[in-house]
């Protein structure tokens, strides 16, 4: 990786510290890397590893209490550290631009988008208003913003999230910056929108001769847009290599561990396993003296604990911060005993209960044509006075499926597709509008207030956000014990023992009993949340994105834990996620939802290869796969998701369906008639007008998936 030109950005030995009460925290230390023109340099790492801090240091926006403690940041040859604020201000927005994670937050809610864009030109380049206007419109068109001239006059809340991010990117590119820093630019977006934005970024990288610094936690995204990757851990950069090298031959034990944690699209629990990294990231004030990764490293030796390794340049241009990298062979890696044991039992269960056999089990949950509508009031005067027509958000439309006992049904879809409403209706947080729903012998169309305790006890839920899953005012023990007391499943005198038993099965010690939530890490909170759901020994657990807010290494542990629970207690699960790889890995059956409607449902492996619904196909082609060598078909959806208040007639997907043209009259039937449910065998049903043979004739989105 020798580069002919001088680097645009060269960061050397950077250390950033924050002053806090009673001392100082070094959030980042010993970070060195360089980015060349036309390069796209990824910085990956889990939350809190300091990757954003590096970006803030470059633009000198560390807040009142942060400062660059050591090292240099050379931009186009000149050191940014120690430059006057005024000089830095001139560089920012002109030579260095930045794109942030949440575009809604990043744009000023009370300024027109055009004004926000134009000022970049008028302030830095002194360009006249009207010329700035023209250039902004041009730039918006280059980022494929529909109706660009009109968007200039709008406010941020009037356009969709994907469009907002396009505006932010256009704004960053206006002055043709030498360096573009992107901090998780697609994390807040849905997967199909993310795919389109990533395409755009890749295209811009080729067109504009810009160096990109791309910060993300998502290895799949890195594989798609980056040429170089730096892996950060606990404030240090531990490995740096080309994107192909990182994925093919990760050198640092941490990088290896990270890659082992994530399921690749197409892997399932029967054929593969996830290996979480044991332990947790040390806080900045308690980092070990030697190698920061030593406490969690499987290969750690005495030298690792004593001496901090330097970032070494290996022969083939890879930089690694490890003493023994040459001696480590990832192929020879064996999981630590505890994990191995768990993974084995999980696999054993999966072998015994193949999807076919679970599908033949007695259904525990049956829905038939279940609907959930919410009334909405419009904003016009007529509506306010109650004269307008009654309108509804059709959040769930005609959901029909059954879930065999002991199996897992995964539900995927983008935000707003109704998957959360569906499980809220099942568990009774919402009552259904019409249709039938039975759980065992109970009718569950009514809300919780109508249900009896015997039923309530059988349905429990695991939540998404670890920070809000536990009540901050009560100890772990109190919160897990409450369902036992409430449902009377355990005599009061034995609650404590029972809770401790549960804690232990969650791999948490008895000493967690008296802890308060704020003393727990995200993963630990999630474990407690699972324990609480299990406390009443329910037959059905509904998991609402239980791992999406967690770091990948923790995510793997939680997934394994859930599998373990299922094996031991033969619990049935509904599993919602937006990550198709995770759903594929975790579920026996999968349902794909779009705009309140289930589009396709069937055994997990069948969903992921043709025949599939055109929407499923688009979703699959959008998933970022953490392997730069995988060839993925590029199918992108146009427009944005229509409103659920007036969903499109006929097939709800027809406004965006890329395959509609295959039907006569450009798919006129799709706009008129509700599609039929087509049986593709083994309980696999597709909700589409296209004949099964056509659907089956599609090329697989990802080569490797077809061969499975």
């Amino acid at each position: 990786m020798t580069q002919p030109s001088a680097p645009i950005l060269k960061v050397e030995n950077l250390a950033v510290a924050y002053k806090v009460r009673g001392g100082e925290i070094e959030a980042v230390q010993n970070v060195s890397f360089d980015i060349h023109r036309g390069d796209s340099h990824g910085i990956v790492g889990e939350s809190g590893c300091g990757k954003s801090t590096v970006a803030w240091a470059i633009v000198n926006f560390l807040g009142a209490n942060g400062y660059v403690k050591r090292g240099s940041i050379k931009f186009l040859g000149q050191d940014l550290v120690g430059k006057s604020p005024e000089e830095l201000r001139r560089l920012r927005g002109d030579q260095i631009a930045m794109v942030f994670q949440d575009p809604m937050q990043a744009l000023n809610p009370s300024m027109r988008l055009g004004d926000q864009m134009k000022e970049v030109l008028t302030v830095h380049r002194g360009i006249s208003e009207s010329e700035a206007e023209d250039r902004c419109v041009d730039m918006l068109q280059r980022v494929y913003m529909p109706d660009a001239a009109n968007v200039m006059r709008r406010y941020p809340h009037q356009i969709s999230g994907g469009q907002q991010q396009r505006v932010v990117i256009a704004m960053a590119l206006l002055n043709n910056p030498a360096l573009l820093i992107m901090d998780e630019p697609t994390t807040a977006l849905d997967v199909t929108v993310e795919a389109a934005v990533l395409d755009l970024i890749a295209e811009l990288r080729r067109e504009f001769d810009t160096a990109i610094m791309y910060i993300t936690h998502n290895l799949g995204v890195v594989a798609r847009v980056c040429s170089q990757v730096g892996v950060m851990y606990a404030g240090e950069m531990v490995e740096r290599a080309s994107v192909e090298r990182i994925f093919a031959q990760p050198q640092h034990p941490y990088t290896q561990g990270l890659i082992r944690c994530i399921p690749t699209l197409g892997e399932d629990k029967a054929s593969s396993a996830l290996y979480p990294i044991p332990g947790r990231v040390p806080p900045p004030n308690a980092r070990p003296a030697g190698c920061i990764y030593a406490p969690r490293c499987d290969y750690a030796q005495q030298r690792c604990r004593d001496e901090r390794p330097a970032l070494r340049l290996l022969a083939d241009g890879v930089q690694v911060r490890c003493h023994f990298t040459e001696e480590i062979d990832p192929g020879q890696w064996t999981p630590p005993e505890e994990v191995e044991e768990m993974v084995e039992t999980v696999n054993g269960q999966a072998d015994a209960a193949t999807p076919a056999s679970t599908n033949n089990g007695k259904p525990i949950l049956e829905l038939h044509d279940l609907r959930k509508y919410y009334p909405v009031t419009g904003g016009s005067l007529r509506d306010v006075l109650g004269l307008g027509e009654k309108r509804f958000v059709k959040a769930v439309e005609g959901a029909t499926f059954s879930v065999p006992k002991g199996s897992t049904l995964g539900i995927v879809g983008e935000s707003g597709c109704g998957k959360s409403t569906l499980i809220k209706t099942i568990i009774g947080l919402e009552d259904s509008t019409s249709g039938q729903a039975r759980f065992m012998s109970f009718d569950i169309t009514e809300g919780l207030s109508e249900r009896n305790m015997a039923l309530i006890k059988e349905l429990q839920m695991v939540f998404q956000n670890p920070d809000s899953t536990m009540n901050p005012s009560y100890t772990v023990g109190q919160q897990i014990g409450r369902p036992m007391v409430r449902f009377g499943t355990v005599p009061r005198s034995q609650v404590r023992d029972e809770v401790i038993k549960l804690l232990q099965s969650m791999r948490l010690g008895a000493n967690y009993y008296d802890r308060l939530p704020r003393q727990l890490s995200g993963g630990e909170k999630q474990r407690v949340g699972i324990a609480r759901a299990l406390a009443s020994r329910p037959d059905l657990i509904l998991c609402d994105e239980p791992v999406s807010a967690l770091d990948v290494s923790v995510q793997a542990a939680i997934l394994n834990l859930l599998l373990d629970v299922q094996r031991e207690q033969n619990t049935t699960m509904l599993f919602i996620a937006h990550d198709l790889s995770v759903v594929r890995f975790f579920s026996d059956n999968v349902a794909v939802m779009y705009l309140g409607q289930i589009m396709e449902i069937g055994p997990a492996d069948a969903i992921y290869r043709p025949p599939y619904h055109p929407y499923t196909e688009a979703l699959l082609s959008a998933v970022p796969i953490p392997d730069p060598t995988v060839k993925q078909k590029q199918i992108r959806l146009e427009g944005s998701v229509p409103s659920a208040v007036d969903p499109p007639s006929g097939c709800r997907f027809h406004t965006r369906c890329p395959r509609r043209k295959l039907l006569p009259d450009d798919g006129a039937i799709c706009t008129r008639e509700t599609p039929p449910w087509q049986e593709a065998g083994d309980g696999h049903r597709i909700f589409c007008h296209l004949p099964l043979e056509t659907l089956a004739s599609f090329d697989p989105v990802v080569e490797s998936l077809a061969t499975h």
């Binding site: 633009v59 201000r89 942030f100 809610p109 300024m111 005067l381 306010v384």
Partner: protein, 432 residues
Amino acid sequence: MARFIVRSLISAVLTMLIVSAALFFFLEVGSGDVTVKILGIESTPEQRASYRTQLGLNAPAWQRYLDWLAGSDWRAERAVGLPLVTVRNESTDEAEWWAERDGELVRWTMRDGELYQLTRQADGSSVESPADVAWQEGENGASYFWGVDADNNAVMWMRGAGETVWVRTKAGFRKEGDGPREYIPLRKGLLRFDAGKSLQTGRPVSVTLWPRVRNTLILAGLAFLIVMPLAVFLGVIAGINEGTWIDRVISIGGLALTATPEFVTGIFLILIFGVWWRVFPAVAIFTSPNAIFEKPMLLVLPVMTLTAVELGYVARMTRASMVEVMEAPYIRTAAIKGMPRRRIVMRHALRNALLAPITIIMLHVNWLIGGVVVVEAIFGYPGLGSYIYSAAIFGDPNAVEAAAMLLVIIAVATRLIGDAAYMLLNPRIRYS
């Protein structure tokens, strides 16, 4: 947007209704026997009972609430059978009630058991003539007549049998023999700007109230005009310099000013400017209704007192909002775009920062009004505040109700203005 407007309007109307009912029933239930307050504790139970009848206090409470709110002429007209009209009495500047019959304005009076008709002349005087009325048959053979008496009541006389009543005159309390049996005090009701008579003065509340309202509006308006720009300016300065000494001075100073009661501030200002330095008059002595225009210096200390108390609060609200906005991600975006700090504050932060406090500031007009009561009491300023204060001390329900309703109307109106300003400044609502 229509939704927000309709919502706040409906809410305002409901608020007024609830407030009026609460005020009325609260004072009704709580204030005990008002006749004792008017007639004095020496009055006999007989006198009080008679006076109660004259004030119409024997009617059920809900009836009196409706009378008070919407007027009693509706039901009185039904009893009398003639349209009732008000005519302005030139000499007293008060409204008189007359019944309109065949194009003439008439009233009635009873003397020695005989009913006489008073016909109003163009010059305001009246001509007396024997009444030519149709007596109606009541129960047990008695005949009765509903008419209007000379004291603006719709009354019921019994034929040939005047009730013995105690009449309150300027000279004192007098027993009369030709009184009516039932009274409906005539009033147009609060909704039509008639708040009834003050028990304290015997004059209509609305006549004495308006000059007071004007004085108070001048006082509060001046304070408001001084406070708002100054406080917002200080708040913004403190907010963008968070954590610096200037922020500390403004924050702590603001806190000290807010936390010091108006009367303490007022006393200190009087001590300093009125007693020690003698630069401004320490008491507002009103020699004529227009005194504040003739001697504007009278206003200085009251306005200063009000300003001092409000300044701190509004400045602190603005500061808090500014600090929050300056930490918002879009301000970070602007900074990363390389915008100069001045532009960031003026174009990006200010509008959003003023949005949050606007409604709170407008709600805070309540405090300003509370302050007005105290300030007017300290300085003897003849405004609405001192009016309600003296009415409350005396226990004059009509006056308290009217003045309180006015103050509440001001408070609700400013809240509506605040809501409207918020809607206009916030594009998220404007374009929804």
